[in-house]
Symmetry: C2
Amino acid sequence: MPALDLSTHPGHLARRLQQAHTLLWTTIVSEDVTSPQFAVLNTLVGEDGLDQRTVGERVGLDRSTIAEVVRRLAARGLLDKIRDARDGRRAVLRLTGEGTALHRRLSGRTARMNQIFLAPLSPQERSTFLELLQRVSDAAEELRDPAARPPDEPAP
Amino acid sequence: MPALDLSTHPGHLARRLQQAHTLLWTTIVSEDVTSPQFAVLNTLVGEDGLDQRTVGERVGLDRSTIAEVVRRLAARGLLDKIRDARDGRRAVLRLTGEGTALHRRLSGRTARMNQIFLAPLSPQERSTFLELLQRVSDAAEELRDPAARPPDEPAP
DNA sequence: TCCACATAATCAGTACACTGACTATCTCTG
DNA sequence: CAGAGATAGTCAGTGTACTGATTATGTGGA
């Protein structure tokens, strides 16, 4: 069996893409706040007071990882983690003023980063790229978790 | 500043894509060997006896990470790590028979996995997707490292 | 030849990301 | 109301992935 050409393997390319993105992120957006951390802040800007599990689900982090990320954000005073009075299992997350301010500062930079990241593509190719990325990711996530289904076929 | 729509952010999508891929990999290809580990084996099948640094460069792993991955592969007897006699700094990597056999076994499965991974796209879209992934990754890697340049513009 | 510089690998520290086991809490049903 | 099952979070363990500091070795020029 000869060696395979990994440049035709989407998984391999996905890993390289993500690594390249992380690098760009730290140089252009922030050295202190990572992309997953920003995703959490961004979710809470949209809807403050969500519980930890829901935020994790929205940004694509499992329960263990979201716990770690939240711990770090809380340690830096960017959000507060509060036990839900009505449901003692839940941890409700609330942005601090500092968290909101930081999100505002970084938002503009993420736009600039996306531009640089997608610079090698034409405007047409950019939207194609985003669409294909989304379709493949969505489909693969559904393979794993046939629960959160599209509006048809409500599981038994 | 309102919340951003991260589904238009290629970096966020890249992370989700990679996560989804890892999941598929462990269910379809192997529970024991990870995708980066397979990439190392695959490189050595193509050219046995490369040194650790070169292999890392080929598969896109930095010196620290390739060292970890190699340590694990060596611990499982899939390759041997030998100090280069001619250059005492280098560690030369050689596949064992078991390593070669495992690569052979897994190669077919990676093809099946790629098919499932790309199933939501038409044949046309698949090649577009791979091409765009490659162009964006290559460009971003060059931003970081202006050394390994294309055949024009040899750096000073 | 010796010393400055470069290079390969290692090490410590940080940050995702996942699984499987466990705890605490809630809810529903008998 | 009690116990069964579901749910949210934690914890331990494994595996990338990166930076910055350190160590060992090679190489080229004064």
